[in-house]
Amino acid sequence: MAKTIDRRRFLQASAAAVGFAQINPDFLISSAFAQSGKPLVFLSAENITGNWDPTAHTTLSQKNIEGFVMGFLTRTPMTLDDPGKVVYELATDIKLLDPHRLQIKLRKGVHFHDGKPFGPEDVKATFEYGAGKDRPAQWYPGPTETLTITTPDDETVIVDTAKGGYPAHLFIFLASFLPMMSAKDIAEGPGGALTRRLNGTGPFRFVEQRGNDTVLAAYDGYFRGKPGIPGINFTFTGDSTTRMLSLMNGQASIVERLEPEQVETVKGNPKIAINEVVSVENKYLWFRCSKPPFNDVRVRMAACHSIDRAMLLEILGAAGHASANFISPVKFGYIDLKNYPAYDPAKAQALLAEAGFPKGKGLPPLEYITSVGFYPKTKEYGEVITAMLNEQGFPVSLTVLEPAAWNERLYHRPGGGPGHMVDCGWSTGSPEPDLVLRTHFHSSSHRITGIEDAEIDASLDKERAAPTLEERKAVLQNETMPLLAAKMPALSLFTSVMIHAMQRELKGLYIYPDGSIDASKTA
């Protein structure tokens, strides 16, 4: 499915040839909207944390705000055609000096919104602070003490991972995901400037938080020129009907997370354009692997063979995209796995019998927990999954909860956590596959499943330690992912399609697969 990743050649090539317009000029916001002089009003389906420190949260809506305000070393459009494509932003070149040393060359003449010039000390401070063990986001491959970061001159940063024993190339993917913070802000320490406001190098600067509205204004000193849009109002609006009404009456410029029915409704509206993008998010049926009966791989496999994923996609309509792996097709290393369990009731029955539960007899009552109100159609396809499992003899009952209550019950805890299966998506704005695989299936993390499996650990360690990206891809595709498909700690049901609706004059706005937006129209 994924085409050849030419990152190595790309990194070896001169950065000068890589321009912003290389992605696609269409992703610049259309001049028609910019000339109207109106601020862009974005209605978000998710609220923010209220703590502006980018390392303090994993909240998607806040990551979207950071996408407007903060600068990144690179950006990765993550398209189906070219998942590995990179556009340099604050970096002009990134290359591996050896397996444990990565050299980053920085763009000159860039300033933070508070006026401080951007330099190597900011990259060093960002990496060292963000990798701290106490930072809640935990995006880094190893803690601060495993990193040695040097700044030999005013445009170069060397990241050395030898102390941690993991390869430095892991930072290549992360470069598009980690917002660059000011060393001055970081020096203020916990509770300082980082918490109170965003300060970045991006096209829009943070003005204020006004109730549910985050107010951003075009940054005069943006290194690519001041954006044509004067500002952005980013507003949390919890109800999808309200968001849609606001778009239809012209109050909102762009809204996110449309239900499939809403797409059908607005498709005929000449004033509104729809943007559908295969996202970085897969939706999963997570098994609680540390307690019976799903501590038995045969029972997990039987459950997987009981579920007809094609039927789920019919329910989802435009909001779902077929995939057969644990990561999205827009992530590094994706392939359609040959041994990914397909719908096969006969095999499900054989596995159940082999596990000592013929036709499901002897299985305890099983609880399947899902949410309603955030992801599209969870209740609807949850009911279908429940019916399919019951058909094969799994005594499953579905518990549908509002997001806050569901979130309480989501994660693994000692003893297995609530319920036996949980529905949840996982979205990270980077091609890095370990943000899903290692996070969920390595014994050191296992956030939802609770799986502890030495074979999986060893394979995940092996792919991470591969000296080059090509070798890593080979290990991922030939060993790690097939191994996971043979053990199925979770069933990835499908890949989400991120659906945005916007005013027609905004058509062409580039929306990344994690939902963040490029609105940096130059003047």
């Binding site: 609220n47 923010i48 303090a56 606001s246 805890r413």
Partner: protein, 326 residues
């Protein structure tokens, strides 16, 4: 003198009511499902950390002890701090509790004071629209029982009371905002943003007001003093305006007090649909986030408003009709 003793007596009764409501809400919040500490620390935190923080916050003390501590703060004007919302006012999804960079939490009193004027504006406008509409129809219906207006009033009331407010809100927004472009619908950017949600609330309020007015006016028009008024040579408009309506206004006034108070609860769905930043939207978010101090604060303020409005209504009713005793 009567007014002072009336106020003293009713305020004392009101204080007892507010105390009981607070105790009830406080107790219910602590026995219902949903753990606020789990929301604060995040789903990944182990149960032991949840228990440790809950203990530190005093949430494992007996309910009566917790309530005593809370009530002592309330008496001094301190409604506490939100569990979830930061001082910058954002609607939050909850940051990690043990994160040292977590900003100061917002004061419950400040959050309520920001939202309350918006809701009072909405409720006030809704009541005004409902009153004007109901008065026109209800009085006309009451003056001719069984006539055209009476039948019309019955039909309108029946239709209005059957319309779910969430449906009407969406339809009105589609019609008046999306199709005709006459009014803004979502959020708040000035007084005009209050009109659509107020219309929805007015439709909800009107049936009871129409029926009360029409039956009260009809009852008054059948009283002996109306016939005597004719004999004394008073004109029908004079009898209606100066006598019948004045007497018919007492039951309406009592009803208005109850209706205005219930509006404070009724705005929840309407504010959510229109994303109107009042007390209703604040309440929904507080409930979804298990933000106990905020829910309690809203309950206390709402019950205090309820009590005060009823006292004022009773006071006004006794002024209109001194025979009434409360």
């Amino acid at each position: 003198m009567f007014v002072l003793s009336f106020l003293a007596r009713r305020l004392a009764q009101g204080a007892v009511i507010i105390f009981l409501v607070s105790l009830l809400i406080f107790t219910l919040l602590r026995v219902m499902s949903g753990n606020p500490v789990r929301q604060m620390v995040g789903g990944m935190a182990p149960d032991s950390l949840v228990e440790q923080i809950a203990t530190q916050m005093g949430l494992r003390d007996p309910i009566i002890v917790q309530f005593g501590r809370y009530a002592a703060g309330v008496v001094q004007g301190d409604l506490g701090r939100s569990f979830v919302r930061p001082a910058n006012g954002a609607a939050t999804g909850g940051a990690n509790f043990d994160d040292l960079t977590r900003g100061a939490r917002a004061g419950v009193g400040d959050l309520i004071l920001d939202a309350l004027p918006m809701t009072l504006q909405l409720a006030g406008l809704a009541l005004a629209i409902a009153l004007v509409f109901s008065a026109l129809l209800g009085i006309a219906a009451g003056l001719r029982p069984g006539g055209v207006f009476d039948r019309l009033a019955f039909a309108v009331s029946s239709v209005f009371i059957s319309i779910p407010n969430f449906w009407l809100g969406i339809v009105l927004a589609l019609l008046l905002s999306v199709k005709l472009g006459w009014l803004p619908a979502i959020g708040y950017g000035g007084f005009s943003y209050t009109v659509l949600p107020a219309l929805v609330l007015a439709v909800e309020l009107s049936p009871v007001l129409i029926r009360t007015l029409s039956s009260a006016v009809a009852a008054q028009m059948s009283e002996a003093y109306v016939a005597v008024g004719h004999v004394r040579g008073l004109s029908r408009p004079r009898i209606v305006a100066a006598h019948a309506l004045r007497n018919a206004s007492v039951p309406l006034l009592n009803l208005l007090g109850v209706q205005f108070s219930s509006l404070l609860g009724g705005v929840i769905i309407v504010e959510y649909i229109f994303d109107y930043p009042g007390l209703g939207l604040l309440t929904i978010n507080a409930v979804l986030q298990r933000d106990f101090p905020l829910i309690q604060g809203i309950a206390i303020v709402t019950s205090a408003i309820f009590v005060l409005i009823n006292i004022l209504v009773d006071l006004a009713a006794t002024t209109i009709d001194p025979r009434l005793e409360y």
